[in-house]
Amino acid sequence: MRKVLMGNHALSYGATLSRVQVIAAYPITPQTQVVELLSEIVADGKLKAKFIRVESEHSAMAACIGASAAGARAFTATSAQGLALMHEMLHWAVGARTPIVLGNINRAMAPPWTIWTEQNDSLSQRDTGWMQVYCQNNQEVLDSVIQAYKVSERVLLPTMIVLDAFVLSHTYEVVDIPEQEKVDEYLPPYNPPYKLDPDEPHAFGGLTGPDGYFELRYIIEKAMEESREVWRETGKEFGEVFGREYGLTEEYKTGDAEFLIVASATIASTARVAVDVMREKGKKVGLLRIRVIRPFPFDEVRECLKGRKKVLVIDRNVSFGFGGIFYQEVKSAMYNEEHRPPIFGIITGLGGRDVRVEDIMEMVEDVERREKPEDIIWKGVRV
């Protein structure tokens, strides 16, 4: 069935089709429609789930963790300040190995108060151990929720599905809604190996000294590493069942490209149009979209960057004192490679400033003119 959906409702549909059992959430602009629609779906009895209307995001994540540890599939959604408030519990969800899925609408952090898009909220949570998927359209948002439960429950790590505020969250697009039976076939019920069960009592998360903690962290890293292949496999299987295949990254006209743009989220969709326009003018440009940043797609990135003349990484985020975060990561992934291209980093579109096709073409021209890579090139800032 095809429907015209806003990005936020694509999250709600994804959660419903995944038959989530416990939802705990707190409203924040621009996420509200996610939980409003889910409240309705649950109230109408169309989804057999408990909706806990918690008093904060911190409690939302705590409740999801409790529910997941007790054996239920749990879902929440938030944005910016809400995600930051969850921070302590984001670590908890990873350490407790609870495969929760969270929808995060990328919104810039206050102050000053603002509600428009930027990736600093989710990228600030990069090192918590959550897997992170950056979506480029509403179809991908819906599909990624379903895929995320499959991966998360296999490797026992939680996943964050990330979408741009307004550009996706409030933009209506045609979305193919998969049939429930097919989703049920693709995504088996959640049945964790260990759970809170009076018939088999265990203590979870008890005091652990230097003797044991180290190994537990090692196991989490191994699960992250294993998840790369699981994302690839389940993304391929998704294609077989639903006709839309997903990988950790996506390439566009990269075959003979001498100049490679690396981008994520909706800037990547805009860059795709820019690539088409530039190709018409005879430029050999291609695009690598990073969809999953944790686990980091080392193989895909290295393979794609190999032998390019110039690489431009576009970031809608900034790690103050260092630069764009995708840029840092791509650059460091290439450091030990034999054929490393010069990599340029551009920061743009912070706080939701529009990034247009022309802007991306200008960025490419700018980088073409430059001899040496620079760590931070600002595009569009009025200073």
């Binding site: 007790a70 239920a72 008890g206 652990t208």
Partner: protein, 293 residues
Amino acid sequence: MRLPLPEREVMTPGHLACQGCGAALTMRLALKALGPRTVLSIPACCWSVIDGPFPHSTVNVPLFHTAFETAASTASGIRAAFEILGKEDVNVVAWAGDGGTYDIGIQALSGAAERNDNIIYICYDNEAYMNTGIQRSAATPLGAWTTTTPVKHPKSEPKKDMVSILAAHRIPYIATATIAYPEDLVRKLERAKETKGTKFILILSPCPPGWKTRPEDTVKLSRLAVQSRVFPLLEIENGEKWILNMNIKKPVPVVEYLKLQGRFRHLKEEDIQRIQEYVDKEWERILKRCGLA
């Protein structure tokens, strides 16, 4: 004579509490009443250590260690999961210290209480942050020494009235208890088990290292707290019907309770008088609310 306490022991030996720990005895009695079909959500507090280091556990029921301020919200999540999974016969218990209840966890507790989530919230109250080395909490009584209220400036505020705060939430059942009256404690937990909605049980739990008391005085202190009217034994139904379980007609002077505790050793006579007056005033309020004034 038959002791009105369940014979069963759910908790097993081997816990890591200090000698004379009120909180350890509290858990033992609570689990006798609650039984093995219980799940515990325990935030940061002494009990996150008492249960034993991984992989050991002394409670012998499923225990989820959670963050300091999330005893209630984690329990709400567990309850929601059990409801949707059709496991209705399990007691979901949030088990927190006074710091995790009166201070940092009050928001999550208030949220759960307002939603009337079907959980039993038990606060074992040792009247300070003991896990981190005896710092003041909102439950620390007037005049007490702690490491952050040194004898030069002991606590100048009275204990927060947590029971009234919960009563204002109109939850179906609230009770206070001490280990000195185990049959009363067990009866209250059995009542909590049978009641739907949010239940709040406050249990005074003397702490020998924190209160500077002798380990063998833990039960005696618990009894004196009641007999001196410092810690009234109460039940509150729906936030409205207040029941005084033990009307102390001839109270022991508060000084008898205070003088066994090193944390009050610095108090001068006039300080003790002030505390006595405060206790008297509070008792009058309780009597009024219980319709006994």
